[in-house]
Symmetry: C2
Subunit: 190 residues, 2 copies
Amino acid sequence: MPRANLDKRKILEAAGALANEISVTRLNLKQLAQKLNIQPPSLYNHVQSLDHLRSDLMAYGWQQAGERIAEALIGVSGDEAIRRACQVFYDYAEENPGIFEAMAYCNRDSDRRKDGAPDRLTEILRRLCEARSIPEADVPHVLRLFRSFLEGFALLTHHGAFPKDGSARESFRYGVEFLIAGIHRLEEEG
Amino acid sequence: MPRANLDKRKILEAAGALANEISVTRLNLKQLAQKLNIQPPSLYNHVQSLDHLRSDLMAYGWQQAGERIAEALIGVSGDEAIRRACQVFYDYAEENPGIFEAMAYCNRDSDRRKDGAPDRLTEILRRLCEARSIPEADVPHVLRLFRSFLEGFALLTHHGAFPKDGSARESFRYGVEFLIAGIHRLEEEG
DNA sequence: TGACAAAACTAATTAGATTAGTTATTATAT
DNA sequence: ATATAATAACTAATCTAATTAGTTTTGTCA
């Protein structure tokens, strides 16, 4: 039994990869253990249960997506910042269908690992809003609108709701511009 | 063995109720059979598998939601029709968390039972769009935007992403009005 | 170097879906 | 009415995957 030198990080990476291959729903300890070259029960040295693992994966995904978005926003502002934030989120979700599924299912089972996970995204969006002249009372609503659109669109994409001819990407961009135009309207009216 | 006189309909109703209680994820044959006063294996006389049952539940949900929306739109038009369609969808999702989860997860596993299930909603939204002077090329994008918002918002609501102080409902209405305002802009510009 | 903690392992348990094989009930056709 | 066919239950058995128990190995650190 040569030790595999695992840690949470490596396990989450493997779990993420596996989830991306076969979906979070079908994520299972047998295949995960295989991928890590250990026996299934050994996973319990690192993880409390399969359910916890899914929660951890959710947190991991939000963390990673948050980092990428923050990274992409360096030195950018205004409409362009909103565009980038949305685009990076979308790309992350598209590249990581399984992890995104976990993210979307966030608090499905319980509030166990809520951890304020998606708050990073909300926080970023809030800053972007606050850098504008949107009426203060509107901001929370606008944030929820954005999150709904972002997660909803990605969800639908993954579930094959849109044709695979690439038009989804175009629709996504359209949606983002539509929302940005709405923000301009708020700024003018407010 | 007095016969329970079951049919797909009754089974789906029971499954829906159970899913609403414990979530689709935890939906299981044992409890379902219990609810129907039969033994678990007997369910296989009516259903191919648990996975198929979930798919069937998805279709059932879309069907039911579609009916309610169509019903609510009788004699209504313009902005008010959009408002109502959205509101009824939201109410359905809120009253039926488990079924909605199935609907959202639509083609998760395979395209097995796609059945054009959510097309009813899309079809209704399309008609509402076409009754307006939105540039034709924009219509498909607008539809996707609406669907993303509707399903995304309901998803987030269910997962406790929004506080339970009732402000979610307000945000939902806000979102709908925001989108309607955007449509007006399209009509003016187009 | 010896003891302790961590991380693997194998073997056993449990739970739940599914299949096999059987029996009872209903519907249908004479 | 009655025999027959189809349907829907049932019980018992199987299979798979998560989890727990108990043991051994490996690495760290006094």
